[in-house]
Amino acid sequence: MGRSFNTIAFDPAKCDGCGDCMSACARVKFDSDDTSRSLIQILARENANTKGISPGAGSSFELALCRQCGDPKCVTVCPAGALTKNNETGVIDWDGSRCVDCLLCTIGCTYAGISLDEATGRVSKCDTCDGNPACVPACPHDALKYITTSNIYNEVGDWEDLFAPGLAGCQGCNTELLMRHTLRRVGPDTVLATPPGCVPGMGSVGFNGTTGTKVPVFHPLLTNTAAMLAGVKRQYKRVGREITALAIAGDGGASDVGFQSLSGAAERGEQMLFMVVDNEGYMNTGMQRSSCTPYGAWTSTTPVGKAEEGQKAVAQGKTQDAKNMPLIMVNHRCDYVATASTAYMEDLYEKLDKAIAASRTGFAYLHVYSPCTTGWRFPTDQNMEVARKAVETNFVMLWEYTPEQGLHFTKPVDQPLPVTEYLKAMGRFRHLSPEQIAHIQGKVEENRRMVEKLAEQVHGG
């Protein structure tokens, strides 16, 4: 398994070209006010939409910065052995005592990541300030981030993948990611319940008499998942084996017809981890609405009609608001309740660890928002972006609850984007009228107030 490294990420959509990152870099690296010496270069785009050059998506700023390539060309063309990929930090290290200033590395790099510092006559490149890049906190617009999720990859990559290769999910579905990560984390001493839904549909229950997992897995009814799993767990306890009882269920299986057994197991404090993959509908069976489907959303059972002559009202998506399942679970006083998103893997991992620990003594409930490329109608490469926008608009709030600590936000969003930023990212909301959008925005704010009231201290996390 290869290694993953921390990296500086640039979001051009948030950049306004203020240059604070370059000032910070020049100051820290060269004690200089000359931003041309900065190792990160932000460039204003002046030639959008010119012939022969792709216009790009809406941004006006471009970036030149060492990418700390995994297969670095600058290293391969250095005649002096002055450049090396550091396998601990991932940074391409430059050894000034070996460098002969020949500039061949600037030929090798196609990304302008290493260039001449005219003041010294030597090449210069970003070294991520030894893992604490000065440019990132200097950015007033959050356009630069230092991404540190690599440790998850490095750690998890060494654990056994307990799902079969080649699951039959839709292209662009994030549930495979969620399933593989979760089972790796939970480990081999696990019994898995997957009620009807996308998770067994993707192959967890297997094909041709074999299971899709390397742990015992069963396929309960939609109605009795939590009850069956509770029985299985009790039997294992009776024979003295310590296992994790894990359910991975859809929002339909949890919030609609499966709710009775789920509520019962939570109330009894059964020792299990119940993970809900909330894609806001019955996506596996043809995109029917569930009680978790949000107001206004198109599904195959909340269609969008076209007004014909003489008609006054036609259907315009779902007319009810979504049920707030995780808050309902908080009211069961479970040992652990949390919401999570695959766009925030570090947060998800912390919650997974706590949920696993809580499931040793009681009921743990983890509600993961899971955008559905097929049912929500967005391009297959946009899953993480949609998930991120949900959080950035407060459409989805990330928090956790324990009876001792109460509820607190783990990723508070102080300046949420308007909910339209989320809605316009997908096709299921395309038909919305201004009134419907206003309703959704109002609901987002109402939800937020509600959760904030429950939180012992607002933004205390």
Binding site: N47, T50, E62, P79, R98, L103, L104, G108, Y111, G121
Partner: protein, 417 residues
């Protein structure tokens, strides 16, 4: 007889890239590297800095012994390839031993081309291609009063600068009318020439040496116009050419170098070649050319390694593009691409006498063909991409000419971010 899956001959950039490429696809196949050089791998390009004393000879190695252990490579320095018996898939080495190979890549580089000057075999001259050459020249330089450098390519010019800085009277003798021809354009060459003459070097372009003779410890050079030069140090730096005696009777087709296709395959099965010994397609015309430069050696070595290992990710060679960087007396010169202005092409130059900044752009149909600069820094890697991608720059060519650094970066970030 010993057998190996992959035999690598040579130990510089092309060979090292081939190893990396093979190991990315085939973690277990046996790799054996034989090389004439007795040292750990180093780059011929670093040798001028060993001559100047800037780089310590023990500090220029590109890889340590651990690299070969980690990559499971049997590393055999100090043993040259004597003959390649392609019918049997066997390499015969200079020590008489034989190695059977499934696949072999020839990355044996090039050696100094020694001009057939009468008397050259009677004098003690220097060349610069190996670490030993560099150490010997470094020692001789310290004692030299009157040095002559034959050939004004980058190796010769580097050495001449070192000799000037070491205090010798230096004369550079070049056959063609321009210094660094083939690397830099006339304006750049003039700036280079002025820098050298300002520092006391004498330059004789359009000059040929017709006779060499020893006179005590001195060497006497007779030039085409009848003048004579006395030198206590003579460096012959009139270019390089591959030494391919080991391919005699192998059936591997050669011209100036080993002829290879776009996957670095030679004319004979199981034999690849890369780097300075290979003659591959040029980018600007489809003829096979010698493009003995470091970046190209790395690219070719990578392709050869991928092709040998059967890596499905291997892509065709885009063709050799001339790429050079050169430092002289505190200034720098960079050249990317072709210096020829084709029919219908446009050449744009600007030069600022005060700062010594010079820039030349060669374009055709809105496409960049070449860019040359002195003291004007631009990202050569970005420019090379604009050339090989044949990006239509019609809309930005004025800005590119004014600000090649920022506009190149802007384009890079948009086109191949």
């Amino acid at each position: 007889m010993e057998q190996t899956q992959y035999l690598i001959v040579g130990s510089s950039h092309a060979a090292l890239e081939a190893i990396t490429a093979i190991r990315m696809h085939d973690t277990d196949g046996s790799i054996t590297l034989v090389t004439r050089d007795p040292h750990l791998p180093y780059s011929p390009t670093v040798l001028p800095y060993v001559v100047s004393g800037r780089s310590a000879p023990e500090n220029v190695y590109l890889r340590d012994a651990a690299f070969f252990d980690e990559n499971k490579v049997s590393y055999r320095p100090g043993v040259a390839l004597k003959a390649l018996h392609t019918a049997r898939n066997v390499a015969e080495l200079a020590d008489g031993s034989e190695i059977g190979y499934a696949k072999v890549v020839l990355a044996t580089g090039a050696a100094p081309a020694i001009p057939p000057i009468p008397g050259i075999d009677k004098v003690d001259y220097h060349v610069l291609r190996t670490l030993e050459d560099a150490k010997r020249l470094n020692a001789a330089m310290k004692k030299s009063q009157r040095a002559v450098v034959l050939g004004a390519g980058l190796v010769g010019m580097h050495a001449a600068e070192n000799l000037v800085k070491a205090g010798a009277n230096v004369t550079i003798v070049e056959m063609s009318a321009q210094l660094t021809s083939g690397y830099f354009d006339a304006t750049a060459a003039r700036l280079i020439e002025e820098a050298f003459t300002a520092n006391g070097a004498k330059i004789r372009t359009s000059s040929q040496v017709t006779w060499l003779a020893a006179d005590g410890d001195d060497i006497v050079l007779t030039l085409g116009d009848g003048t004579t030069l006395n030198a206590d140090l003579l460096l012959v730096a009139t270019g390089v050419r591959p030494e391919l005696d080991y391919l005699k009777d192998s059936g591997v087709a050669c011209d100036k170098g080993i002829l290879v296709d776009d996957r670095m395959r030679t004319s004979v099965a199981n034999v690849w070649a890369a780097g300075d010994c290979a003659q591959a397609r040029g980018f600007f015309d489809d003829a096979q050319v010698m493009n003995a430069i470091l970046p190209d050696a790395a690219v070719q070595g990578r392709i050869a390694g991928m092709a040998m290992a059967g890596d499905p990710g291997v892509a065709d060679y885009v063709g050799g593009v001339p790429l050079n960087t050169y430092h002289f007396f505190g200034r720098h010169a960079i050249s990317v691409g072709s210096s020829k202005v084709p029919d219908g092409g446009v050449e744009r130059t600007r030069f600022d006498e005060a700062s010594g900044r010079h820039l030349k752009l060669i374009m055709k149909d809105g496409r960049l063909l070449g860019i040359y600069g002195v003291n004007e820094f631009f990202d050569a890697g970005v420019m090379a991409q604009l050339i090989v991608r044949r990006t239509d720059l019609s809309a930005v060519q004025d800005r590119l000419f004014e600000q090649p650094l920022t506009v190149g970066r802007e384009l890079m970030s948009q086109i191949w971010r």
